[in-house]
Subunit: 518 residues, 2 copies
């Protein structure tokens, strides 16, 4: 019977090649450690529109300004020539101050990891990927949804360490079973002992930050003066949109800039709620706020490592619920990438979904985010693996699904070879019409590494898949994260260093730790 | 507590705007009837590489040729100057014959629907979308997987008719309960009476095709001579890769070209199986085969409507199973779009997945296909809704998930307005720092139509979603397709026309119908 796209007839000619199974996962995975995006960024704004948003943002900084709750930060702005109204805590600045800051902000950032092979370059066509950051809850198919714990945090460090397509560590889940004054140290200890990728530090007050910096310095066996010469950690500072910079965020910018560590200034602008209902308006607001944060970092220390972060999405206008991976989110990514290139600062975007299960919705919303971020030229993708429920839960299964999706992008970023041998005209001549290429020399020379081998996708036919239990990809992901954790081995660490870290944590705990600043 | 991207703090400021719910689905849906893709196509090949593939394909047509099983088709090639070896049934052609065909193939195609508003333009930046074509089986969550039936076929016609983002009808599932000699008439009758979009006709022999053309002519109330002056239906012709053109396919090209109806010539080239293990090789083979099919159509009738189809993916080299929506599939899309533009013929691509459930894998593989096809500039997306199991089942739930994904693209294709009013600086000035935009005039004027309202995505928070049953998006899709079918009303059709169609079918059945040609 004739068919559409051979869906019926082609089955009869398929057969199983009798060969050893292709390994090559390891080799491929190492290619994922440093990713360069080969695609020309997509555009949704004209150059004039980009310029108009930039100029509107500068005008807002001059005329309307931003409320800065930190007196220390206000003083820094004032010293740099900003106009500060202490009554309303408003900072206004001439655009010249912002423009100067943009000239000192670096366009390329090199983050040093404990394992030099895990060090990360950010900027240009480079893409670095970090896992989900910040959820209070954790969830998996077997244990359900529950408050985050230190044990879960450690699991996510292990998962982040295990996949080469994840380049940085992150605060994947809030360990609510650790007292708040000690929490920053426990999460830093987990990152420094279970992994060798670049760790994250939260901005929850000066004392917490200095504890974490000290631990990272110990782990790297650096002198105090050495620590501030290179980038060893990173954080995200969210503005409190619209137009407000809270105390721990402002002081985080200052502490990170002084220490030469990376701050990603990210307005979280939900169009229709904390930002205008238009995407262009939400981006104008975001641009203004990001420039103020970036300017503060450059005032504190010209050349301080900063990134331009965007997290613009929309809400459901019926319920006010945030939505992610929407068409508006994707379009905002394309526009935000253009704005970041306008100010020539490396750009951070996100993968996100509002789904409450690691189901098909979570996948298509994540894909809309990923394509938006990556085709817009993002340099750092945050929330790259594990994000669920609009960021309120870290999901073990979603982590695995996301790694699969990210690895597919990592493969897509590899060039398509099209030289004479790849065009394979000799092989084409050698195979009979209606025949197959399974056993040709051309195939035999290449089959082991020809194609991406998936992590959790199942390509078996319906019968084989049914016999194997008929599991959804989400159910299969459970087995993958379990096996990954079972097989996990922490990187070897100098015992003296671990002892010093542990002693530091014990001492600081006995001193009362450091409660978060709000 | 400080947070990452506001995931904890922002919740307290969210509230439900007390407003009537935004309708606007209808208004938005109408925009989906004619889609233009605003993005510059992505490239993975250099111009030189494109040219090399094109020249290699022409050289293969000259030197190695293609086996053409239809004597009629071989005679047509011979009459046009091709070199035919009747013993091996091989056709070889000088490139000049192919190049001449490429000059007569139209670059734009206008397909006439029964409702003129459903007519479809193909070419340029226009994107038309057709549903899944060809599965022998049908599946849904309630009834499970079963052989395709006429009743299921009719359901998929109703679903295809119901969503404006689906522009054409298709052979969504094979009605195995209808005798093969009558099947073509029953599916054509269903398309012509339940819908008013452009119908599909299979190439399963001259007599079947002429029956279907006659029915379409009756439905449009055309004279015989009028029918061949415009395009009223379309088909896909798959080459039997490598390098073979089967009888019903070759004769389909001839019949469609003579009648001025649209043939999409699509080599189904699975890299590593029926095509070289390299993507560049698979595309060289596909390009060669597509050019031979297109040339046949142009020999038969210069100016005959044809499309350049590509369906290149890879197999799992362990099992030989086909895979879809892989990184290789996406990369092949980008390259194939470049090849189609090289020959200046409208290009057809696909959405596809190897998943056996409408789960997250089905979604991320579909997304990889969609982004590949659409960013490569495809003019017709086949298998756009309902494809599951590598094309072996049509899924009711997957159809709904696909429509959601397609509608998101339709929204993404709308321009991002960024004029002064959209940049919203006045609204930004008016809202207090840390406040919200819910009640601003700027929001009130726009909120009803500001954002895409999803079909099946659920943006409620975990608590509300759990209280509502905690269903996956796939489970929710069941309710959507049921409601769509429940609410379905077929377009009004002239009773005389329906009577004439029914009488035609009854007569032809009594004459023995038309068994398929293989």
């Amino acid at each position: 019977m004739a068919s559409s796209d051979g869906s019926m007839e082609r089955r009869s000619r398929r057969r199983t090649p009798a060969r050893d199974s292709p390994p090559a996962i390891g080799r491929r995975a190492e290619r994922y450690r440093h990713l360069a995006n080969p695609f020309v960024p997509l555009r949704v704004l004209s150059d004039d529109e980009v310029e108009s948003i930039h100029l509107d943002a500068l005008a807002l900084i001059e005329s309307t300004g931003m409320r800065v709750l930190s007196a220390n930060a206000r003083a820094r702005f004032a010293a740099a020539g900003g106009e500060v109204d202490e009554t309303s805590q408003t900072v206004r600045m001439d655009r010249a101050i912002v423009e100067r800051a943009l000239t000192t902000a670096p366009s390329q950032l090199d983050l040093c990891a404990l394992d030099a092979q895990r060090s990360v370059r950010i900027g240009g066509s480079q893409v670095a990927i970090a896992p989900v950051a910040g959820p209070p809850n954790v969830t998996d198919l077997e244990r359900g949804r529950r408050p985050g714990s230190l044990s879960a945090f450690q699991d996510f460090v292990r998962l982040s360490q295990s996949f080469d397509v994840i380049h940085l560590l992150g605060p994947c889940v809030e360990p609510q079973d650790v007292p708040v004054q000690d929490r920053h140290m426990e999460v830093t200890l987990a990152q420094l002992t279970l992994a060798d990728k670049v760790p994250w530090v939260f901005c929850r007050g000066h004392r917490q930050i200095s504890d974490c910096f000290e631990m990272i310095r110990i782990a790297h066996r650096l002198e105090q003066s050495q620590f501030r010469e290179r980038i060893y950690t990173y954080t995200v500072v969210n503005t409190n949109s619209p137009r407000q910079l809270d105390i721990p965020m402002a002081e985080g910018i200052i502490d990170f800039a002084e220490a030469g560590q990376l701050t990603i200034v990210t307005p979280f602008t939900l169009s229709g709620a904390m930002a205008p209902v238009t995407i262009a308006g939400a981006l104008t607001l975001a641009h203004m706020e990001a420039l103020v944060g970036i300017t503060l970092a450059q005032i504190v220390r010209p050349g301080a490592p900063v990134m331009y972060g965007t997290f613009t999405s929309n809400v459901d206008m019926k319920s006010g619920s945030p939505a992610f991976g929407t068409p508006e989110f994707t379009k905002a990514c394309f526009a935000a990438g253009q704005l970041a290139r306008r100010v020539e600062i490396p750009w951070r975007s996100s993968s996100a979904t509002a789904a409450n299960l690691a189901d098909a919705q979570s996948a298509y919303e994540a894909e809309m985010s990923l394509w938006g971020a990556l085709l817009a030229g993002c340099n750092l993708l945050l929330h790259g693996a594990g994000w669920l429920e609009s960021g309120l839960s870290a999901s073990y299964e979603k982590f695995i699904l996301d790694v699969e999706m990210l690895q597919m992008f990592a493969e897509l970023f590899q060039p398509l070879a099209a030289d004479s041998a790849e065009r394979a005209t000799e092989a084409i001549k050698d195979v009979e019409p209606g025949g197959h290429f399974f056993s040709t020399t051309h195939t035999m020379q290449r089959y082991k590494t020809a194609f991406y081998q998936p992590l959790v996708s199942d390509w078996r036919n319906f019968g084989q898949w049914s016999e194997a239990g008929g599991k959804s990809v989400t159910e299969r992901a459970t087995a993958i994260w379990k096996a990954t954790l079972d097989e996990f081995a922490a990187p070897t660490r100098d015992p003296g260093t671990v002892e010093e870290l542990t002693a530091f944590v014990a001492r600081r705990k006995s001193e009362g730790g450091a409660p978060p600043v709000t």
